[in-house]
Symmetry: C2
């Protein structure tokens, strides 16, 4: 078997529009039209070219296309982490909606580091992505400046901002924390704790809760900051620590459902009655919040919808249109369940 006859042999160079054009007896621009604007080609040539495209296994080089057209059909998303499902739903929504229109998703993870975000933004601008989805509204000066200079559509998510870079889809973290604080006070809890990360959204939720408690005459809540990472375990360990240090705490509000679920599991293990001895509340209304025992009171937000809406905004802009509501507040609501 000679090298040449081997059908599985890897060709030295990929097939180009030129190759297809030559085979079909047309110019490469006609091949381009068959792919991008088929209505501008006569049915006869179109069919011939199409048959050659498929028989030769031609796959257009989108790098070259993007360079020439200045459109890559790539959207980048930057999230703190893809694990533990908090942002995974948003990414899923984005990816679903985008792929419907032939766009691809470039993914970046910051591990909650602003420097990492800055680096990723530059890398993605270098890739000439058509649009960018950011988590949160707090970004380095350098990021904001680069984004402005690049002039590409940007959607900030998961928060609201007085000065958005461009578009935004999220909800008010401070108000959501406040609403939970109000709710817990109304339920009769007074001595409370908040457990969350030191990211801007977690801090805003705490501030909201604290404001609510103080306004209602309840004591300042204990604030426990946990490193981002293994969430269930963090919830379990935190509730232990809390009960040891401040046995009089009556309710704990966790910045996310996974941590709250970890706490609920630990309470079950140690025979701590929830909510009688300790009430538990979470954030995000993830699946685990309804499934754990007792089911968790939580703040319902629309993680998946954030992704869908962000994608729609971007697609509208790519289409040359103006987004009617570039600042979208998806809101939140308190979901009362058995844990409080």
């Amino acid at each position: 078997m000679t090298r040449k006859a081997d059908p599985a042999a890897v060709p030295a160079r990929a097939i180009t529009k030129e190759d297809v054009a030559r085979a079909a007896g047309v110019s490469h621009i006609t091949v381009s039209r068959v792919i991008n604007t088929p209505e501008k080609v006569s049915p006869a040539t179109r069919e011939r070219v199409e048959s050659f495209i498929s028989s030769m296994g031609y796959i257009p080089n989108m790098l070259a296309g993007g360079l020439a057209s200045r459109r890559t059909r790539i959207v980048a998303a930057i999230v703190p982490t893809i694990s533990h499902s908090i942002f995974a739903e948003t990414v899923r929504g984005l990816s679903e909606q985008l792929s419907l229109q032939g766009y691809q998703l470039l993914l970046g993870q910051t591990n909650y580091s602003e420097d990492a975000e800055t680096g990723l933004v530059e890398a993605f601008i270098g890739r000439r992505v058509d649009g960018l989805v950011l988590t949160g509204v707090q970004h380095s000066a350098r990021t904001r400046q680069r984004l402005k200079a690049a002039g590409i559509p940007v959607v900030e998510t998961w928060d609201l901002s007085p000065q958005p870079i461009d578009m935004l889809v999220g909800f008010d973290n401070h108000a959501a924390g406040q609403a939970m604080g109000d709710y817990l006070v109304r339920k009769g809890y007074r001595r409370m704790a908040f457990v969350g990360g030191d990211d801007p959204r977690g801090l805003a939720r705490f501030a909201g809760m604290r404001d609510a408690l103080l306004a209602q005459g309840a004591p300042e809540p204990v604030h426990l900051v946990v490193p981002m990472g293994s969430f269930l375990q963090a919830g379990r360990e935190t509730i232990c620590r809390l009960l040891a240090l401040q046995p009089d705490i009556e309710a704990t509000f966790f910045s996310n459902d996974v941590m709250a679920a970890g706490a609920a599991l630990e309470c079950a293990r140690r025979g701590i009655a929830v909510p009688q001895r300790m009430a538990l509340a979470g954030f995000a209304n993830l699946e685990i919040a309804t499934e754990v025992l007792p089911a968790l009171t939580t703040v319902q937000i629309s993680a998946h919808q954030i992704g869908l809406t962000a994608a729609e905004m971007l697609l509208t802009r790519f289409d040359g249109q103006t987004v009617p509501e570039p600042l979208c507040d998806l809101g939140y609501s308190i979901l009362e369940r058995e844990s409080t």
Copy 2:
């Protein structure tokens, strides 16, 4: 305020190497060298060029670079779904390792559809990704052929294959299922069930379990196929259905820990003693397996390591070197906990 004077104005066109070169009084190729091979430029010019790069906010166009160099520094990964953490850990490992070397991750989700995978593979080849990471070893003929023709490094993951496309890092799903079957028989269980999706890996795990039970003289296990989606809930519902239909089942092996955890939660809710009345086993050793009550016996595999190893294999190949062990079996082990 004139348009021109506005410092925030978006320039008509992005800054190029040419622009930087002109400002620094060198040729564009020198700018290119400063960025790609700084050691080949004299310290004096290097510093000057660097200062212009940073003051002008120049970001290289990697589209053009990729077209010219035939290297995009992009790796694509295709997973069934990013939600529910089963593959999220692999993606995280990949992304971590790749970003260390300046590579970016293009992500695709198939929702367990082979057609979707085929489409994504073509789209990614069109983007001229430097490498591709696939989930599983079962792919359409078209996918295999496209991949072969493209000649790019490919890593298949999460399974073993007699005929890998290129490289592979995974474990033997059949053997893992068998090991769990053997273990459960050894523990004295006889009437058992398996719950999983109809994806190749889930089916292989079931087949392994069945082979083990039959070989040991236990009855054929009941096989419940569940749609992929909300896993905790699926686990809960399945265990209800199972107890209603086959009350004599003594142990259930779930194709993933999240489903098994859902079942454990439901058993707790209904006062079903685990493992006395019903033993539960999961797969993957996710965080939830250790945190749920009772902690779940599971098959430990290395989801994160799969991503790391895949990235290392690709990087080695990008570096022009040969991967010493292109077929990597990461193995598995039975982790015995309280649920069996």
